[in-house]
């Protein structure tokens, strides 16, 4: 197994994320998917404001950094101008579900041929760990010091489920987790294939870690991701236009870590 995908730009490593940050694992999964499809040289990779911007020099691919929440429309613009490009919009849950939620909804409604990746670490990480739409019930953050109370702050948003509820024909919607990197890489690969085949939009959420703002050690980081987060945010494909041999598929995912 290769530790670093070929699409990673080696001269910018070590990358700029904190120790134990899940962004590194989401981008590893994305790198694996890009390697398999051999698309790095025609990819335009958009990063948001938030910790996702630390990936501005991450890949051997053209990269653009946008205003907060505007990565989706910027990548759609590039894709519409140059349909042969592979467009990837990469952002946090704040960028995707709060300030940029209108773009997520309108891009899905229009079935724009891009891949949207939303990294769900349950908080606004770059600004110091404030509450996000995805913050779990009872979770303490900088702006919910007694824990998120649904009475005042609402329930955590299940983004892929929302998108799936009105996803047009040809769309691909999934939720993966950095605790299963290979499976997440499969979802991202399918999302990219969907775009290459000009079928429709692809939206993949990745459950991720932020030990810095969670203030967790390695053991508790895995625990929060694999127990609390995964209990509320189930992992799997929600909408898929691919006709597949489901038995083979199940066996394939079974061997994935």
């Amino acid at each position: 197994m290769k530790s670093m995908p070929d699409s990673w730009r080696r001269e910018t490593k070590p990358h700029k994320f904190c120790p134990g940050c899940g962004h590194g694992l989401v981008l590893k999964a994305l790198g694996m998917a890009m390697d398999r499809l051999k698309i790095a040289d025609r990819t335009v990779f958009g990063v948001d404001i938030g910790c996702s911007l630390l990936a501005w020099d991450f890949f051997n691919a053209d990269t653009i950094q946008t205003h907060h929440g505007r990565t989706v429309p910027v990548i759609i613009g590039a894709k519409r101008a140059r349909p042969n490009l592979v467009g990837i919009a990469y952002m946090g849950d704040g960028g995707g579900y709060a300030i940029g939620s209108q773009h997520l909804i309108n891009a899905t409604m229009r079935n724009d041929r891009i891949l949207i990746i939303i990294v769900n670490n349950t908080i606004y990480a770059m600004t110091g760990g404030q509450m996000a739409p995805t913050t779990l019930k009872g979770q303490k953050t900088e702006t919910s010091s007694r824990g998120r109370d649904p009475k005042y702050e609402g329930f955590p948003l299940r983004g892929p489920e929302m998108v799936a509820s009105f996803a047009p024909e040809g769309a691909y919607v999934a939720r993966g987790s950095v605790s299963h990197v290979q499976r997440l890489a499969r979802y991202l690969e399918r999302g990219l294939e969907n775009q290459l085949q000009d079928r429709g939009i692809s939206v993949v959420e990745a459950l991720s870690t932020c030990p810095t703002n969670w203030r967790t050690n390695a053991e508790d980081t895995w625990k929060f991701l694999e127990k609390e987060m995964t209990d509320y945010y189930p992992v799997g494909e929600l909408v898929s236009p691919f006709k597949r041999d489901t038995q083979k598929e199940a066996a394939d995912l079974e061997t994935c870590h």
């Binding site: 001269e11 120790p19 134990g20 899940g22 590194g24 590893k28 290979q182």
Partner: protein, 83 residues
């Protein structure tokens, strides 16, 4: 441009475990995920000035490569021995 990273190596019965001090940030995620409790802290520090890991119990390593997969910094390599 071809970039190479420094390698610390441990040779075991099933394969070679390699960690790069240029990449390891000492997060400890790999220690938790190794199913055979092979990995532990060393006295060396890495790129962030934090303690880095090594294969303290290399005899137990099955070369399963789970550690390679879970390292967010791609600091670990495992070369499986040819059977």
């Amino acid at each position: 441009m071809s970039i190479t990273f420094t390698k610390n190596k441990w040779e075991g019965p099933k394969g070679v475990f390699i960690v790069s001090p240029d990449l390891c940030k000492g997060c400890g995620l790999c220690i938790e995920k190794c199913p055979s409790q092979v990995i532990d802290w060393t006295k060396e520090t890495g790129i962030y000035g934090t303690p880095i890991v090594g294969a303290k119990r290399i005899d137990r390593c099955t070369a399963c490569s789970i550690c390679v997969l879970v390292c967010p910094d791609a600091a670990i390599d495992v070369e499986k021995n040819k059977m």
